[in-house]
Structures are given as structure tokens and as C-alpha cells.
């Protein structure tokens, strides 16, 4: 696609449920990032993929959060046993592999707003 696509746009779930959020990056972008943005805050880094592997998952808050990118393109962020504090907008971004080429620019999707009741 022309841009980063995220689905669903909005997700309402109940506490304790399992949720999957999907990100389809720009074709050819090997780097993919997940961020979480709580109300009134800046985006907080969760995990970064380079190809199929997670190059940096230091931002995942706990073991209820997991992300995969099995074929190096689409990524899924998985949240188990959701809690009310997980409510936020989850942003996905992609970029060309090399920082020297991309000059650091990330291309963002419109995010998935998760509400845990």
C-alpha cells in the first residue's frame, strides 16, 4: 500500500480478554516500530523489528505484550489478559533499513485505539 495501514482503527474489549492489533508497513520498509500513546502523552517505544527479528523489545511493559513479524512485512501486536491501563492508541511506523538512507524518518500509521472496559 501507499502508507502504513493499521487495523482495527478502534477496538473495545473487556478486561482480561486477548487482543491483536495489526500493522501493514510500506512495501520495502524493513524496519518496523510499535509505539503506545496514552492520552495527553507522547508516543512511548514498545518494540522494533529489523526484518523478521525483534532488534529491540526493551519497551514492552511486561510479558502480557508480544509482537511478531513472521515474514518481515506485516506485524501483529498481541496483548494477553488486557487491563484497563492498556487503554491507549497503539501506533505503528516503518522505515527504510539504513538510517543513512532514511535519515531517521519514520512513516506512521493512524494508530489503533484500544479501550479496555
Amino acid at each position: 500500500g501507499a502508507g502504513v495501514s493499521q487495523t482495527p482503527s478502534n477496538k473495545v474489549t473487556e478486561k482480561g480478554k486477548y487482543v491483536e492489533l495489526r500493522c501493514d508497513p510500506i512495501s520495502g520498509h524493513t524496519a518496523l516500530y510499535w509505539y503506545r500513546q496514552s492520552l495527553g502523552q507522547g508516543p512511548e517505544f514498545l518494540i522494533y523489528f529489523q526484518g523478521t527479528g525483534a532488534a529491540d523489545d526493551s519497551g514492552l511493559p511486561n510479558d502480557r505484550f508480544f509482537a511478531v513479524r513472521p515474514e518481515g512485512s506485516v506485524s501483529t501486536l498481541k496483548i494477553q489478559r488486557t487491563e484497563r491501563g492498556d487503554s491507549a492508541v497503539y501506533l505503528c511506523a516503518s522505515s527504510i533499513n539504513s538510517v543513512l538512507v532514511s535519515a531517521g524518518e519514520l512513516f506512521f500509521g493512524e494508530g489503533s485505539r484500544l479501550t479496555v472496559l
Binding site: G40, G42, V99, A103, G104, E110
Partner: protein, 115 residues
């Protein structure tokens, strides 16, 4: 760890006027990028302007320019001839120059352009 601080939670400006958004950061590194991203109500973050730390010249993109003071670790954004479409959240962000490392964002400044 790198930190980015935006001390102005909200600002407003009259249409056609100039406004400056402040940002400071903290790092021990010498090679890095600094960015300003815009986030309108649609939620999609859009790159406004970028500055490489090794460049002394301030970046400019049309109505947007920065004042980069490396020694002071300051990176402010000036918007000239403000337009209603500039109304959005603005985030200052930092990234190391070498390797694909995550962007670190500030908490943002909500800018309202008033007709």
C-alpha cells in the same frame, strides 16, 4: 537514557502570526537527529522538519524553521505565517545517528491557530 522535554503543554497563535515551540533534550552522544513531528486529530504523525546534529546550519522547510543550539541542547520550532491547518499536537523527537534505534519523543505541545 535520552530524554526530550517540551515545557509548553498548550499554545495558541493568531492566524498569520509567528509562534515558537520549545524543546530541550539530554544526551551524552554527539551524533544524532532531532525532529519535529505533527499529529493532527487524524492521529497520523507527520514529519515536519529534521536536523542532523553535525550540521551547524538550522534546518528550514517553507514556513517551518528550527533554532538548534547544540551546546544548550535546545531545539525550538518556529512556525511563520500560521495557518488554521497547523492546529495539531507537535512532538519533538530524538534519534541516534548510527543504527536503527527508536525515536524518543517528548510529551508534546498542543498548538491552536485562531482565526
Amino acid at each position: 537514557a535520552q530524554t526530550v522535554t517540551q515545557s509548553q503543554p498548550e499554545m495558541s497563535v493568531q492566524e498569520a502570526e509567528t509562534v515558537t515551540l520549545s524543546c530541550t533534550y539530554d544526551t551524552s552522544e554527539s551524533n544524532y537527529y532531532l525532529f519535529w513531528y505533527k499529529q493532527p486529530p487524524s492521529r497520523q504523525m507527520i514529519l515536519v522538519i529534521r536536523q542532523e546534529a553535525y550540521k551547524q546550519q538550522n534546518a528550514t522547510e517553507n514556513r517551518f524553521s528550527v533554532n538548534f543550539q547544540k551546546a544548550a541542547k535546545s531545539f525550538s520550532l518556529k512556525i511563520s505565517d500560521s495557518q488554521l491547518g497547523d492546529t495539531a499536537m507537535y512532538f519533538c523527537a530524538f534519534m541516534f545517528y548510527s543504527g536503527n534505534t527508536p525515536l524518543v519523543f517528548g510529551k508534546g505541545t498542543r498548538l491552536s491557530v485562531i482565526a
